[in-house]
Symmetry: C2
Amino acid sequence: MVDLLKINADLSVIFVSALGVILSVLLVMGIKKVKIDDPRMNEISSYIKGGAMAYLYRQYRILAIFLIVMFALLCFVPGLGFGVAVAFLFGAVLSCTAGYMGMRTAVISNVRTAESAKKGLGAAFKIAFSGGAVMGILVVSIGAFGVALVSYIMRLIDPNVDVDIVNQLLTGFSLGASSVALFCRVGGGIYTKAADVGADLVGKVEAGIPEDDPKNPAVIADNVGDNVGDVAGMGADLFESYVGCIIAALLLAADSQNVIQAYHILLLVAGGLFASFIGIAITRLLKTKNAAVSLNIGTYLSSALFVGLSFLVFSKNVYFFLCVLCGIVAGVLIGKLTEIYTSSQYKTVKKIAKSGETGSATNILSGYAAGMKSTVWPILVIAIVIVVSYSLGLMTDSKFGEAAQHCGHIGVVLAALGMLATVGMIVSVDAYGPIADNAGGIAQMSGLDDSVREITDNLDSVGNTTAAIGKGFSIGSAALTSLALIVSYTHAVGLTTINIFDANVLGGLLIGGMLSYLFSALTINSVSKAANDMISEVRRQFKQKPGIMAGTDKPDYEKCVDISTKAAIREMILPGVIAIAAPVIVGIIPALGKEALAGLLIGATLTGVLQAISMSNSGGAWDNAKKYVEEGHHGGKNSEAHKASVIGDTVGDPLKDTAGPSLNILIKLMSIVAVVFAPLFL
Amino acid sequence: MVDLLKINADLSVIFVSALGVILSVLLVMGIKKVKIDDPRMNEISSYIKGGAMAYLYRQYRILAIFLIVMFALLCFVPGLGFGVAVAFLFGAVLSCTAGYMGMRTAVISNVRTAESAKKGLGAAFKIAFSGGAVMGILVVSIGAFGVALVSYIMRLIDPNVDVDIVNQLLTGFSLGASSVALFCRVGGGIYTKAADVGADLVGKVEAGIPEDDPKNPAVIADNVGDNVGDVAGMGADLFESYVGCIIAALLLAADSQNVIQAYHILLLVAGGLFASFIGIAITRLLKTKNAAVSLNIGTYLSSALFVGLSFLVFSKNVYFFLCVLCGIVAGVLIGKLTEIYTSSQYKTVKKIAKSGETGSATNILSGYAAGMKSTVWPILVIAIVIVVSYSLGLMTDSKFGEAAQHCGHIGVVLAALGMLATVGMIVSVDAYGPIADNAGGIAQMSGLDDSVREITDNLDSVGNTTAAIGKGFSIGSAALTSLALIVSYTHAVGLTTINIFDANVLGGLLIGGMLSYLFSALTINSVSKAANDMISEVRRQFKQKPGIMAGTDKPDYEKCVDISTKAAIREMILPGVIAIAAPVIVGIIPALGKEALAGLLIGATLTGVLQAISMSNSGGAWDNAKKYVEEGHHGGKNSEAHKASVIGDTVGDPLKDTAGPSLNILIKLMSIVAVVFAPLFL
């Protein structure tokens, strides 16, 4: 019976994933029904699509080299071998596939959202959300499909295959997904902010043309950036969290001496997939009058449904169900808390806007302090989830006997899984934002009616809030995933405690903590460098082609797209190498070793989470403070407060869209590197 | 023989401390020899002196209430009692005494430095350095004296007194010193930056009058701030580090089963005192042509002398000597690294200055990134010191047998002591800066010759570098002191490991890590609030008394001094309460407990050190980037780059002078609170 359920669990995940793929095909068909007749819209859309795809191809080329090198390395690492290397490639290819297909959909949805906006808000929302939903569905379907397939195939080959071998392959799979995520997140983050800052500083500030003006040579790069950064980057980030978390849970389950089985985990995953799909379908079918309300209905519905399904999975162990519930609640809470700190409806943003009245310095200081202060509640939520789910896990002990020594850790990983199970819905909501944003840009550049722009602006502003919530969610889930992977790492190297009193652990803790700071500094500097290249190019075009401003000459969009692409690809290499090499080096050096590596992972997770929350929320708050001032508060546009708020927003851009999100990847990637290379440190 | 040496060790510390007091009296007599005839100088000097003393009295009044409450609490905490409470008061009173006397000297030295500058650089340097040296000598003499006296008296009362009882009294003593330090550092930091930002934003930016113009109503508050923040605050900070570190070493020695004795520690302290005094005396006696060179000679000389003396103390255990050496070298290295990141002679500051050409946003971003990047090497140095000194400590094991289980930790604490032993010299060099700065202000306000201002500016610019080095040093020593105290805490509550796998420890780690962010946010917001009060007041005076700008009416300096004083005292209460209450609450809550508290201390130390380095160095770099631009680079004064650099400097001010230094206290204070209240958590 248990064996049958095991096989069924694999297959049920594969089955639900297949459902997801069908659903996404249906959504794409729905999107494609909207036809574009306006040649100007088609032209601009093709620029954005072309730029985004060109970037992806170039990124994949570089990635291919990296993957081949890593593949070769993995083949030769003692204790790993060819199987892990193949699984690694498989994970990388699936991650790229999800990113590629999601982005292809996003770049055909943006222009169609603009077109549908001519008919009204409801129609436009449907298309924008469908575009985002394709990304959301693919992330989870392909991720879950890959994991289930690896274990299914292995069991097909040999029904009595050692679970440890399957799990080792799965860690290789996860490493592949993580590596791709790193390059997508860091490269995408640099791309989008270089284009954004470059377009703003020369276009808006120097030349005095509005945002999304087609005269601005960097405007296409800016719109491409929204796709490669906010759609592909974010998708890869959550793909990694999702896969990493499932695999960490499977690893712990294998060590749990039957307290929990792999099929529990897989059924939970299938339930989460299903709940997300229902949430997405309902959101898509609702008659929308208010985008925020529709998105909330879908999100809460999928969470509620998942609560029910997970209760069925753990009907015989209410404690484990409560752990899952903890994670679900925490995910919602962290999202809500992020909104409180970054939405202009609450006092933090209002205070930052007001502080701009006394100049930039006070505006910067209050946003910076607000970001740091905003760590308090999310961190308390995470700490409480850890302590509570650990205790709940331990309570199962008495039921299953003393053998279940890892029940506490299983509790924590179930909470992580609870948080991440409905990530399909979260990504859909999150990816919807940049599509609406792009639609606005296309409407502006194509000279569509102001009423169209109003609708897209409305959708976009809802998207800003959901993006902030999505960021909070990514950070929270990254923290729990990383912790789950660290636990798996220590099992793999046979550490039963990580004693901070050990000087090696302490040294590792300090080094790991510092890595988050180094990583943030590198990515921020990369944006500055790339933005400078962009600024020079835009200035050059305005100078050498005076016809651009007069409207008689066309700017060279490709050149700007090319600059962002090159810069992003050049600048993503160093952080990438550090993230992969640092844990291996610390683990190998005899004076440090596996204990120091455990310390490093914990230190990086701690400071990474804090820095990520702090930077993301500072950036989000500055952004919305600017919008709040632009709505007419504190003197409105062109006032002293407005100038200050524009500077605050520019400072916040790379913090919230490059450095902050990159830290999510850093902490997960280093943990999975440690798990995969564990045989080296024994 | 051993017993005799023990008594002699107590007495030798008391004897050398007494020498220090004599030396400081001699220095004060030397300072007082300079007579001031200029009535304008006397008037301004009396304003500064009056303001500084008024602030201290008011702060001590609030402090008295706090001390009485704590005294009562300590009396009633089970396991502590009256003795600890008295020791607590003694520590607090000694810390206040050191601060009071050091500051009294500083406020008579500033005007005399200005007077001596009429005779030349050498004479002015002598006075400014003497003023700083009094603070430096008093900090170490009084600190060491207090520790030695407590143990001497206890042994006089009962020659066979239990060493644990003596040590418990010493932790009470240390708590007293730490509590005073917190209020001095936080209050002083808020005071000085509120006045500074207020004076700059209205005076320099709005009214267009130069720095230190007597027309500015906030100018006296600004000069008072240099004394209460940079002299008294910094002195209290290092007083706390010094005392905390000695006591942590004594606690570990008591647990070491005779591997190391209390007299080793005390002799090391006496050696450090002596080495500092010699360094100070030589610096004072040198014929100075270049202030930086003289200060360096003194610093290196005292370090070298201490190396020799510590070799004598540990002549029979070369491993322990090497631990001390590690600490000495690390202290020098961290100072030097700080200089590289914050001095305009190196590329970081030059790059920040250049980035101002494209506006404030890029200037802020590059300074922010530079601060984060500057954590890399200091953290590596600290990590290496920990790993190496721990290993060296362990090597003594084979010599002393298995009983010596804590040898590794002793190695770390000896490194901390090595770093801090010559702190007398460091404080002297550090406190010299604000005196030179004040001298410049007095010269300006009294309308002295430009040549006088040139000399004080020269002394001041050297002071800026030494201040940055001093900050790096305070952070490094705070980290090691805090770790040493955490080890003592775990001994006190009987924890032999702190396992990060324990959910409680992990939860505590997260909460502790977050506290550094909360604390920074609170102190930065306090500065903003206080600066706003100051801005309103200065604007009011300019408006209601037009005679001020015309030179016919005198500004109301007292009102501004009063605003800074009130704001500082009001705003220091919440952070203070959090720092003391958080560890007690976490330790008492049964669901968290002593393990969680250990995690909290480690988490706070990790993020506290990283945030402190990052914020101090960002601030220092912005400050010097502004000066670099003002020297004529990138367009010089009033250029676009200059405007950007002024904003960067204003942002950096509370980061480097309030939030950063306050974190040093936070991490040490929470650790000592945990040690003192340990009986509550058993």
